[in-house]
Amino acid sequence: MNQPLIVGAVAYTPNVVTIWEGMRDYFAGTPAEMDFVLFSNYARQVDALVDGRIDLAWNTNLAWVRTVAQTDGACRALAMRDTDAVFRTIFVTRAGSSFTGLDDLRGRRLVLGSKDSAQAAILPVHFLDHSGPGADSVDISRIDSDVGKHGDTGRSELDALRAVLDDRADAAAIGINTWEAIGREELMPGAFEAFWQSPTYSHCNFTVMPHVGDERTTPWVEQLFAMDWENPAHRSILEMEGLRAWVPPHLDGYASLFDAVREQAIPPRW
């Protein structure tokens, strides 16, 4: 029997404990047992991963980019949620603002979320530069809250939406998860509308260091993929973690973030 794989995760809500205890229990008694260690921020988690103090990390896209950089590409991504493969950034404004695309942001006030949030800060700047008028031509303000958690809490995005509601900003860039959480345009007609959505990109993944061999990761990934939405015991874990199925990593989906981190000279330790 292999030693349990030690998985790192960042504790951004109390539910993280429930989620990972559920995962640990799911793997218990299988040929690929696991345990978990919680970190207060992704910088600490990536350090622990690179130092070999944990075997695997549940990483955001930014943490993946940082790990690739620190390991010269030797780390591997094992799996992601179905929802991680089709993540998007949504640009929203007040309903009736008649914005139709990123070019309408020229000279207008755009509020971004935490500086370490790929979806609400780093990629929006990248999209403005590559698909819009350029970040320099937009009046950008930032709401830096919960820095270190890579936007997981969503708090900065909600604050950005409040700024739009209060007319302190003309538009906000948020992750599609936050957009879904507030019910998109449908729940609150007259409040917000989306005027641009980004191409899909990849979000979180399980990142593993090269010293952990296939003989340990293969059975673990097989077991992970066997989680079944139709099985009520599995479903409660999947629901909390925000997915219906685990899928192989879509590595192409990280290209935009690699570019953005390089172009914006994002520091290596957030």
Partner: protein, 339 residues
């Protein structure tokens, strides 16, 4: 200017944010804006439906939302603790003893309040279809009833049955009645509180320990499975080991040695407090109707319904109340084995 509708939208943002910071199944309560309440209520209700969170309460000026949906409390109990898995019947309330902690307030002076053969027959015959897997007859002292053999036969012909008794009356006609009972379907549960007479006699009366022990021996000699149930006052749990050793010597199987904590009910003037919230229900029928749990039978606050029949509906009512109560209460239930 903040327009009317925007206040509602701010509330949704607050909800998303606050639910994000709490554990699953915890709740948050947010104030509703005066002048905006109706709109805010409908937005919150729609948001909960859409996002899979539970609207716990729409109050006059607040709204309470649970993160996720509370789990089905019945499903969590599992089959063994499911209300109605066992059916308790109080055959009568009078007793030859007057124990000072009796949860049924029984004594020789108590009114009999017999459930009666007709009702016991009908309960036993409806029990199988109602999903009951075990019948339990209790009192008072059932052996005071002249027709106990018929009551027991009605039960054992339907389901495995346990008969609770103080074991002190196995003589003459009553012994003959016992001898006629179905050993393959009936177990006796006899109360004995200690390995020596002191503690038992203190609460149950001088000489009662000796007769109870004799009763256990008689029942065992007659070939019955005997469970022994002890009622220990709070703080006497150190008495447990000598007691188990004694019961072993009487030939009582370890799994049939039941020790329960004294409840503060009936004529007991101390004991742990039992409330609806702290008791997982055990459907209990008396001549007066259906109660929440055998340890609180006869107590008004735990009365469920006067309608014993159909039994299936009485059980459904207990389950419904349990689900409702659990939806409100966050405290975990305490299983109180009055078996």
């Amino acid at each position: 200017m903040v327009s009317r509708s925007l206040v509602s939208h701010g509330l949704v943002l607050d909800l998303v944010e606050q639910l994000g910071t709490i554990a699953r199944y915890d709740t948050v309560t947010l104030p509703l804006e005066e002048d905006e309440r109706d709109e805010q209520r409908s937005v919150v209700a729609a948001w909960c439906t859409r996002t899979g969170n539970e609207l716990v309460e729409l109050g006059h000026d607040t709204v309470t939302v649970r993160r996720g949906r509370s789990p089905d409390p019945l499903a969590e109990l599992g089959a063994a603790l499911m209300p109605g898995a066992r059916l308790w019947m109080y055959t009568n309330f009078d007793c030859n003893l007057a124990c000072d902690y009796c949860c049924a307030r029984s004594s020789p002076q108590s009114a009999r309040k017999a459930l009666g053969l007709d009702r016991v027959r009908r309960l036993a015959s409806e029990a199988v279809d109602a999903g009951v897997t075990e019948l339990i007859l209790t009192g008072g002292e059932p052996f005071l009833l002249p027709n106990l053999d018929e009551l027991v036969a009605a039960c054992t012909s339907a389901l495995p049955t346990i008969l609770l008794t103080n074991g002190m009356l196995f003589r003459g006609n009553r012994l003959a009645a016992l001898q006629g009972m179905d050993r393959s379907r009936l177990a006796l549960q006899i109360s004995l509180d200690s390995a020596t007479p002191g503690l038992h006699d203190l609460h149950r009366g001088r000489g009662s320990w000796e007769r109870a022990v004799a009763g256990i021996r008689t029942a065992r000699d007659e070939g019955f499975r005997v469970r022994v149930a002890a009622t220990l006052p709070h703080g006497q749990s150190h008495q447990q080991q000598p007691f188990h050793t004694f019961l072993d010597s009487l030939g009582v199987a370890p799994e049939d040695q039941v020790i329960r904590v004294l409840a503060h009910r009936g004529v007991a003037d101390e004991g742990i407090e039992l409330t609806l919230e702290s008791l997982i229900p055990e459907v209990t029928v008396t001549a007066e109707g259906v109660y929440w749990h055998p340890v609180t039978a006869g107590h008004e606050d735990q009365f469920v319904t006067a309608d014993i029949f159909p039994l299936q509906e009485a059980i459904a009512e207990v389950r419904r109340r349990f689900t409702e109560m659990r939806a409100r209460a966050t405290a975990a239930g305490q299983w109180f084995p009055c078996a």
